[in-house]
């Protein structure tokens, strides 16, 4: 079992145990989980577990976390277009997390769940290069 799958399982367990609990009990469960990971030398999995837990939270709310990467900040209309696109694909409300990258020439890269929609110029150029080389 790889780290990602293991973290998913731990997140599912953590999420299940945390249902219908008050804040204090949830904190206690989180502390127990951290102790468990630390005892096994797998504290590095915490960030993955949190990501997976967020996904479960979003899923419960019929939402989906979307990472958006572009050179410039997205305008409101662009954000709406991205949300609409993801909703069309998943049927869920998109929660955008935007990052800017100066490495990009232009365009946008959208990542949600295990899927990537790469609309960057960099990717287009790579495809063009691949096409011309073949």
């Amino acid at each position: 079992m790889n780290n990602r799958q293991q973290a998913k399982n731990i997140a599912k367990l953590y999420w299940t145990l945390s249902q219908n609990r008050d804040e204090k009990e949830v904190e206690q469960i989180a502390a127990t989980m951290l102790d468990f990971l630390a005892s096994r030398g797998q504290i590095a999995l915490v960030s993955i577990v949190l990501d997976e837990t967020k996904k479960l939270l979003y899923a419960q709310k019929n939402q989906v976390a979307v990472e958006v990467l572009s050179k410039y900040a997205l305008t409101t209309s662009e954000q709406a277009a991205v949300k609409s696109l993801v909703h069309k694909k998943t049927g869920r409300e998109a929660i955008l997390h935007h990052n800017e990258s100066s490495d990009l020439i232009g365009g946008v890269k959208i990542r949600y769940e295990d899927k990537i929609i790469d609309l960057t110029i960099k990717k287009q150029l790579e495809d063009l290069k691949q096409y011309l080389s073949s």
């Binding site: 572009s70 050179k71 609309l119 096409y131």
Partner: protein
């Protein structure tokens, strides 16, 4: 008697001469003519035997000669057969060798063609890759220089519509 006397023949002398002649004839017959005749007979027999032997020898010689000729003919035929077989074998060997050489040459030519084709393909691919690299790099530089927020917005809008 009177006639003998008339011709002056003395019959006593005549008898004596006949007697002498008989003695001489006997001596000649006994010691000369008879051995000579026997010797001649023997020589004749030897000559006849010699002739017979010579004839036998001639026959044997002829027979030997015939046998030798037959043997030579058989040997010649065998030799000819061997030569013909050797020629056939040599021809077959030559043919096989020629075929083998042809196959080897064909194989070499095919291999060379394959190598040439492979090299050509490799060169074309390399040229394409270099061309693609150049084109893409040029486009990237151009776009990088010309890109601004407005252009990027238009690009993103158009791409999102396409998806």
């Amino acid at each position: 008697m009177e006639i003998l006397q008339l011709f002056g023949v003395d019959w006593k002398l005549m008898l004596a001469q006949i007697f002498n002649f008989a003695i001489v004839a006997f001596v000649l017959w006994r010691f000369a003519i008879k051995p000579l005749m026997a010797n001649m007979e023997k020589r004749n027999q030897e000559i006849e035997q010699g002739l017979k032997d010579a004839e036998k020898s001639a026959q044997k010689l002829a027979e030997s000669d015939r046998e030798i000729r037959q043997s030579m003919q058989v040997s010649q035929e065998k030799a000819m057969q061997i030569i013909m077989q050797a020629k056939k074998d040599a021809e077959a060997e030559k043919h096989a060798q020629l075929e083998k050489t042809k196959q080897e040459v064909k194989h070499l030519i095919d291999k060379a063609k394959e190598q040439i084709a492979s090299q050509q393909e490799e060169m074309i691919l390399q040229a394409k890759a270099e061309l693609a690299e150049t084109v893409v790099e040029t486009v990237r530089l151009l776009m990088d220089n010309k890109m601004n927020k407005d252009i990027d917005k238009k690009y993103i809008d158009s791409m999102l519509k396409k998806v």
